[in-house]
Point group: C3
Chain length 399, copies 3
Amino acid sequence: MDKQAITALIDAQPANTSLDQAFYADADIYQRDVEEVYLKSWLYAGHLSEIPGVGDWFLFELAGESLIVVRSDDDDVSAVLNVCRHRGSRICLDKTGCSKRLVCRYHGWSYELDGQLHSAAHMPADFDKSAIKLKKIHTEVLEGMIYVNFSEKPASFEPIREGLSRCLRPYRLDKAKVAHRQSYSINANWKLSVENYTECYHCAPSHPEYTRGHSLAKPGARSTVMMDEVMARAGTCGLSEESVNCVYLDEPGFGSGYAFERYPMWRGHLTGSEDGQAVAPLLGDVKNYDGGTTDFQVGPVSFALAYCDYVVIYRFTPLALGRSECDITWLVNGGAEEGKDYDKTRLTWLWDVTTLADKRIIEYNAEGVKSRYYEPGPYSNMEEFTWKFMSWYLQAIRP
Amino acid sequence: MDKQAITALIDAQPANTSLDQAFYADADIYQRDVEEVYLKSWLYAGHLSEIPGVGDWFLFELAGESLIVVRSDDDDVSAVLNVCRHRGSRICLDKTGCSKRLVCRYHGWSYELDGQLHSAAHMPADFDKSAIKLKKIHTEVLEGMIYVNFSEKPASFEPIREGLSRCLRPYRLDKAKVAHRQSYSINANWKLSVENYTECYHCAPSHPEYTRGHSLAKPGARSTVMMDEVMARAGTCGLSEESVNCVYLDEPGFGSGYAFERYPMWRGHLTGSEDGQAVAPLLGDVKNYDGGTTDFQVGPVSFALAYCDYVVIYRFTPLALGRSECDITWLVNGGAEEGKDYDKTRLTWLWDVTTLADKRIIEYNAEGVKSRYYEPGPYSNMEEFTWKFMSWYLQAIRP
Amino acid sequence: MDKQAITALIDAQPANTSLDQAFYADADIYQRDVEEVYLKSWLYAGHLSEIPGVGDWFLFELAGESLIVVRSDDDDVSAVLNVCRHRGSRICLDKTGCSKRLVCRYHGWSYELDGQLHSAAHMPADFDKSAIKLKKIHTEVLEGMIYVNFSEKPASFEPIREGLSRCLRPYRLDKAKVAHRQSYSINANWKLSVENYTECYHCAPSHPEYTRGHSLAKPGARSTVMMDEVMARAGTCGLSEESVNCVYLDEPGFGSGYAFERYPMWRGHLTGSEDGQAVAPLLGDVKNYDGGTTDFQVGPVSFALAYCDYVVIYRFTPLALGRSECDITWLVNGGAEEGKDYDKTRLTWLWDVTTLADKRIIEYNAEGVKSRYYEPGPYSNMEEFTWKFMSWYLQAIRP
């Protein structure tokens, strides 16, 4: 589909309606999705606790690209493209590792942790090794969480930092640690995954495990007496009473939206768990359970839920036109000890069972939208936020 | 390949010759195959005995489409597209089931059995649920066999009914039951599968199991003394003496051809089985074995073989450019009891072993026609009927 | 990518630099690769000892094509396309076999061993079977090694024969036998596989098993005192003292390059093996180990290493745009007996372990060159020969 046709299709898209089939099936639109959305937005990469020592690294892979995210100095994180400047081989082959230098095993070219070429044998006399660097990608750290942006000139991260630092501070995520991280592969275009995450219209019919603890499965959960009660308790429990929502068309710069919003749990539910009881020690400076939970967001496709005892971070990325990845990180108090202070199975139960259900749901959605007879349908009142995402998306890829 | 090139290729196709490679390999031609052949023809979907009670349904999937074929009333069958009108999810996820209403599990939208939207929660005030229906597909029932047609205005089914009802009546297929149903996936364009089915030139070299009982493996089987003897016995055995053949270019309306033709079994063979002996009780009003068997056909790609004790129905559908499905249904007398009156292994032996051989043969054919050096070759005298199919096909997809 | 764009891309390609991404990813360039390089070059097919008796055959498959290479007479080898002239089925289905005639199992058409149609049943009266032949491909035999060329008018094989017969003669490969043959499937464009084979820059970092015995892993191995010593011993050991190198842009006709060049093993290494000790009896007329080994080449993608006790023949072929095959044949003295005179595991150890490592390396290279940010990089001094291949390749596919 050429640019003119894409523009016409976007302009013809009615509001509050699911997307035309082409947005899930057309290779040219997918190309734009990657280049105009993913390669220009702030994306969650991982957490500092995953690379505690200098030389520790992990890979972040999306849409055919592979990034090495490395602790390049005691207080510096670098992200460099995992593609050797000689003949293009992958350099780091494992998912995580630790190296003094980044060495391509093919022909032995070695790079400093910041991407500068260190040595290459048997090169011609006129070879200038100082001119050779691995492509560097912008990184930012917010409360221990590492974000990256492939753009040469990304939108400033400062509004995100200003907007979220104070709200997030009580959780002390800079002192948290990764208790578990898991990737779920979903056979569906990435937008079907994000659509699914951005609405709770499907929670009641599809997620009984979530619905029995979280009031968001009902409309208007944030305008209830329960919500007032949570906010009244928040301060004494050490939690923020703020609410910020600067995402999508309200974002300060492209791909740099952010939000922090709380909502009530049903009575008797302290956290997101099988029985509603705590599954880990309280996070950071949190003093007690206030009966609420927190949604927060950085950039267009990185979401999180902060309970008083743990945080789950979601990131959705495209792997191919019809395949996406949902990457989930579970953070707990950095001082907590597995087996003693928390049980990993109990900790991860809710969002594992919920994500596995979502994977099935999204894949059945993907099958249906392939039909020649598929027609976009009307969004419900509970899909307003999904339409916020979609209207931003349509503008983002408009040629 | 654009429409002009397709037209030129069709016009250049010599008679009685296998097709040019593009017909098996070109994505645009495949698109036309689906739209101009499959979505406009009468196709076998299943048998009433598979959905005996109101709310019983089964899925019929082809070329990326999924149909819910449902007993919508005591004496009514509906076929509706398995795509929710909200955001396009599949509604029925299993192959068969029974439901009071068709409920999409994603967001809980529910539909009546005829496709009318029954309920959708939290919709905007101006939402008119009466205007929302699942896409309905035309259905017809002939002697208990359900046929569907995706076209908005399909060719009338009446000529088929008039042409075949009397011939088929002795078998009383409306009172038959499905003893077994099986799908065979074939890694080949659907036309290679239909070409294979429509000629018995390959029977002698490829199907010893079939050939030892069925005289059609020899040319001219319908103009023999044996044929005369079968027809002389047919009436007293309660079987039709008629023969009809209105298929392909002789069809009364597009995709609505039909045929009923008999041919002799070799002496000592009562039916299609490993030893030639009966494998099930006589069907319907059939009184005895007359030494013949029956080919019948409805539409371009649904074929059947009616023996005196059982019927096998074949349906060929495309799954993708290079992948097709052969779906086989074995029907027996509705009063017959498995394990007592028939043994499923004996019943299905011949057409399972023959179809598995055909799958291999067709897949080797598919590999060969991919060669850059493949040249269409001449049909034999025993492939006349295949050419009938092919010449109809070429006209059907001609832009 | 159309022809004009391909030409422009080729013309913009800097010297001594890895290729632009399109050469590994573009379907139109791949099409040219197959048609302009593979289907016009001399390719190693197999060895006479694999088809000792009349009617013995093996298949050679590449880029969707399948060839039957058959001993059609006591002293004749034919290669015919494995595609029936009737409806295009594969004829030979196994990898190897022996048949009096080549019979297509689908409809029973049978062909003489040279491809002439022998019989086809039930054909129309005007059918002229003498006009029907399987497509024949040119073959040549050099010292027992069979080469094929798909071109209607291939470059003469005579320069190869003249250039290599005398050098190769001491090995008496016409009297050798295949001890083992193995295919390695590599998920990478074929050029990444050939690039890998044509340079030893990667040997030191990637192949410790090879490097400890073979001096070629160091630059300038052929201009050393060790080289002089080998050449001084060669004559008395019965080995050639010649060196020829007429490949790529120096080839006498398209796809008919040839080379024969020797280089020293490290002291203590008689052959390519785990411990440097002999793994099979001396080949042919070779009298003793002279401390060297031999690279020889026929055509652009068929390479060999001749030790004094065995020969490995490498052939690289495309299977699809992003998939290639490395086929390796191990030849030993025809009189040697497995289990007594040689142990197959010891014989094949070095080149199996090295090829498995190369498969991994090449596949990681393939992943990296897919990056949107991949940039071609500079070749080292040890990749001169790879550039010879590349500059020939670029000219070969130039529209």
